[in-house]
């Protein structure tokens, strides 16, 4: 099918999420944008294989994910964002939690195995269903569920290994989450 205007608009509308996914995966803003660009080129070149009416974001995420795994993953280990490139892309860090806390979270996320990290991001941040995430990652729904669970457990251990007392400075969030119970 040709690249119709609505389809083009839909692809553009997916770009912000694609970038967020790419940055979450790669931890590097510049590389993430290259990854998004390659994803778009790949998608447009293969637009014929997209089924009209099916889930366009999921299709684009699948392309990006496969590109990342085939190529970017190798390169990633070479330079681990030594220049703080990632932080640079974040213009509006929530002031409350503080930058240190954010960096810690980012570092913990990077320590997760690739399978677990992508599953957690797709379900926990991108908002895909377990079914869509399974389709994107080419695995069973149960596998995605278990990866997400393991990712959460590991993040807990990495970030809050010493238990509840040392919960960081962000009492506000804690109070909100506590919900006045």
């Amino acid at each position: 099918m040709p690249l119709t205007d609505p389809l083009r608009d839909d692809i553009l509308a997916a770009v912000p999420s694609l970038r967020a996914f790419a940055i979450s995966l790669s931890g590097n803003g510049d590389r993430a944008d290259d990854l998004v660009q390659e994803t778009l080129l790949r998608a447009l070149a293969n637009i014929d294989s997209f089924q009209p009416g099916s889930n366009l974001p999921a299709w684009l995420f699948t392309i990006l994910r496969n590109l990342f795994r085939s190529d970017y993953r190798k390169r990633r280990r070479e330079v681990e964002d030594a220049d703080g490139n990632y932080a640079k892309t974040l213009k509006t860090q929530p002031a409350q939690g503080g930058h240190l806390e954010f960096e810690e979270f980012r570092a913990a996320l990077d320590k997760l195995p690739q399978d677990q990290r992508e599953a957690l991001i797709l379900v926990g941040a991108s908002g895909f269903s377990y079914e869509d995430a399974a389709a994107i990652c080419g695995c069973a729904v149960g596998t995605i569920k278990s990866r997400v669970n393991r990712a959460r457990t590991k993040l807990s251990a990495l970030l809050y290994v010493d238990g509840a007392e040392d919960f960081g400075p962000d009492q506000t969030v804690r109070a909100v989450i506590g919900g006045g119970g």
């Binding site: 967020a20 929530p94 979270f105 957690l120 926990g124 569920k145 807990s156």
Partner: protein, 72 residues
């Protein structure tokens, strides 16, 4: 149904899980809010005229969409 039950071990675990979810989304949404960078708008716009579509090879057929590109 033995689904995910972060709270199963007590409120603390649930609280931590909620916090992790919050941080994950904060990180992600921060990028989403940056919108679509110009480079991607440009990219899609350029590719809007597929390079393999010239059915007529004569130059100067008066298609402004193509000549605008600097392709003669």
């Amino acid at each position: 149904m033995k689904d995910i039950k972060p709270q199963a071990k007590g409120g603390l675990n649930g609280e931590i899980q909620a916090r992790i979810g919050h941080q994950l989304r904060a990180m992600y949404d921060d990028v989403v809010r940056q919108g679509v960078p110009d480079r991607f708008v440009e990219l899609i716009r350029k590719l809007d005229v597929p390079p393999n579509s010239p059915t007529e090879e004569e130059p100067g057929t008066g298609n402004p969409a193509i000549s605008q590109d600097g392709r003669v």
